[in-house]
Symmetry: C2
């Protein structure tokens, strides 16, 4: 009986991350401080350890993964590459559909791939505590897990409305020993100020970031951790694509199309960039490779945004980055793929999209749940709403193959399971969910707020 | 870097289940009908297919696993055998701790190991629908998944109080296409009668079983499925131990101690019996093997029950089985390991305990959560409350090794993850959980209700 799961041993866990900054068509535009000048590494030292800052700036192609990090990765990595034979049959497609399953991590998604090295480098730098923000809880739970592995205390500022509506993710963080506060909290100046204005403030990711950064900046023993967008996070996620390459080598195939959901973009970069590295190196197999970032029609930064300098956060605290953006104060509707509700996209993803090295599509919410349920009924695994976006586009590509008769090899990133998102499925089944499309008027408004430098 | 996960390929999925009925010290006492005579296979034909009834009665040592079943098993099997190196370090034990992780199934536990063949044999017999009961939802979700794989309609009667308190499990079943009704329901005579008596009836597993059996008995296109206790369920679960044997062979080790949680007993039999089969065959490596069934102090059927004929269900509908029992109407307290709240134990487990082939221990609730949290913080995976019982005893055995200096090989069954049980952890953290010990008075009462045959 043929294996549908292509497995690797612990020894096959890559020894180096792949850094696409070495293979870009031109250098990345630098982040800019409020004075319009390139931000200096020193400005980040209050909240990040030196090793992370170095990775953020590096253009080295291969960066060694510390052995201590590989030993934690080993708890769930290498993750399986799975051929979705039952889904292929359900679709009647000649395409070969493969998914890389990142839901096998204890936190249930790809996020620990970066949380673990971030915790490690902070531990190495003598840091005792990490502070971070979390919306629905995916990143917070990953940092809680990773902090526990290196004996770091972890404090998570969780957006109040999620804190109250999603107790399971909060409990997961507490099980791994983290302190979790509803944000705005009374722990920080920012939080106290927000509560003084409005004691019932439901919180926002922008506020939670501000609280976590304020704490990290104020305490010498504490640093801050971010779960997407930045170069070092995309670097860490390259483990996904590097493993997938080894797995395809094992079965003598190479993908024609790579598909991943795209919010901040770290998991998409993680699966696609190592293959784009082959293309940059002139590998014939990658010559016609297509990489498709999938975003929601409600928050289509790559497909409807503009390529410009904008802030990484809603409040404008971060340096400005050159990226596709809908405007940093664009507020996407409350869709269930919380991980894709980001106004911009990683500068690396943005540049490669601008240079036409990758493609992007936007898909409406209902079609993603429909695809996720077909997947669950075929392959068993119940996918996270974010992952349903990749499944939707993978199915669409497989159906095109059915028309053309092409037996393309399609790889998609199953970034996580939906065990903590079952209420989203409930709302889908009960007909309460809607398709939101990007409101043109609102963007025109939010795009007038881009940073202006003298 | 040494692998801590011992992996197998799809081709290594066993081709036959192991049936310990071939290797018992004496024949199993037959189930008895209400007339005190051995129940006849024909009596089961209204609710089970012939292949299942045959397996229930069989004393063949090896029973072939249909290829169609292996192809579904392949979606998550072979499950990993993992060396818990970080837990060993945390304990400072010379013991080698291994766990077989059954939480990798789409339903998150070992239950699909039997749900899949049950759905398959019913499909083969021309059955179009399955009805079943579920308490917290582990079995219901496994049958929903398995039914979907063979195109069977599935109706689940879910105890009303769980239906309302545990919406995530219900949603999982619906995602896999099952109909889920709160029991008592208006769909059956039993349900309507219960609701007429009390419209606010919270339901019970006994009632839900009655509804599911009533429906299966009344409809020619519908059969019933049971998730533990019976011989054929234990048979299907032997896949766990058979794979573990192959995995230990791969690394040249053999377990000295095998530990599993024990409610009805199918997962415990599943992991332990294939090794006991070695012992029966005179395998020297198994000569001193200890197999320990772990139950809660609140529901200690093996450690405080008596070995006698009793009904399998609370209401006395089933044939009487020779087993360890606390009395079929003993009502265990509402502990969080719902899967271990069973008044009896599988006849196979019971006989082997009576014959001193296996051991049993009872552990209090708080100590199981403490063990589960240490495990989560060491190995990452958040375990189900049932699995925490095995972890507790595995830790206790490892700590004994620390005292004696013995490097024993300890295998425990990590039967499932706790993603749908996070509220139990919340109650533990908030100090709301108690240790319940078996109330001697109550059992004296419930043991006066054992069936009496003329």
């Amino acid at each position: 009986m043929e294996s549908t799961s292509i497995l690797l041993e612990a020894n096959d866990i890559p020894t180096h991350w792949y850094n696409i900054a070495a293979d870009l068509p031109k250098p990345l535009a630098p982040p800019l401080g409020s004075d319009g000048q390139p931000a200096k590494p020193e400005q980040l030292e209050a909240i990040f350890p030196a090793a992370i800052i170095e990775q953020e700036m590096s253009t080295e192609r291969w960066i060694a993964i510390p052995q201590e990090v590989r030993e934690i990765y080993r708890l769930w990595r290498p993750s399986p590459l799975v051929r979705a034979v039952r889904l292929e049959k359900a679709l009647g497609t000649p395409a070969k559909l493969f998914f890389k399953y990142e839901g096998v991590s204890p936190a249930g998604s790809h996020k620990p791939n970066s949380a673990v090295p971030q915790a490690y480098y902070n531990h190495q730098a003598g840091i005792k505590r990490l502070s971070t923000d979390t919306g629905a809880g995916q990143w917070g739970s990953s940092i809680a897990l990773a902090g526990q592995m290196f004996g770091l205390e972890v404090r998570v500022y969780m957006v109040r409305v999620s804190y109250e509506q999603k107790p399971y993710r909060r409990l997961m963080m507490q099980t791994w020993g983290a302190e979790v506060y509803a944000s705005p909290s009374t722990m920080t100046e920012t939080g106290r100020h927000a509560l003084a204005d409005n004691p019932d403030n439901p919180g926002s990711l922008g506020l939670a970031i501000s609280e976590a950064v304020e704490e990290a900046a104020a305490r010498a023993d504490t640093n801050y951790s971010l779960g997407s967008v930045l170069n070092h996070v995309v670097l860490h996620q390259s483990i996904i694509g590097l493993e997938a390459k080894k797995q395809f080598e094992k079965i003598g195939l190479y993908p024609d199309v790579i598909i991943g959901p795209c919010g901040g973009g770290s998991s998409f970069g993680g699966i696609a960039f190592p293959f784009l590295g082959d293309k940059a190196a002139g590998d014939k197999r990658a010559e016609n490779l297509r990489c498709i970032a999938v975003e929601p029609t409600s928050c289509p930064s790559l497909t409807k945004g503009i390529y410009a300098y904008d802030y990484g956060d809603a409040s404008g605290f971060t340096p400005a980055m050159m990226m596709y953006t809908l405007g940093h104060d664009f507020m996407p509707p409350g869709i269930h793929a919380g991980g894709l509700r980001y106004h911009g996209a990683s500068p690396l993803i943005s540049m490669l999209h601008h240079e036409r090295q990758i493609e992007a599509v936007a898909v409406p919410q209902l079609a993603t749940f429909e695809a996720g349920i077909l997947f669950a009924r075929s392959e068993g695994i119940i996918p996270a709403p974010e992952s349903c976006h990749a499944i939707r586009t993978a199915i669409d590509e497989a159906l095109k193959c059915k028309e053309t008769g092409e037996a393309k090899v399609i790889l998609f990133n199953l970034t996580g399971h939906g065990h903590f998102d079952m209420t989203s499925f409930e709302r889908y089944f009960s007909g309460e969910l809607n398709d939101y499309h990007y409101p043109d008027e609102a963007v025109r408004e939010s795009l007038t707020h881009l940073p202006k430098f003298d």
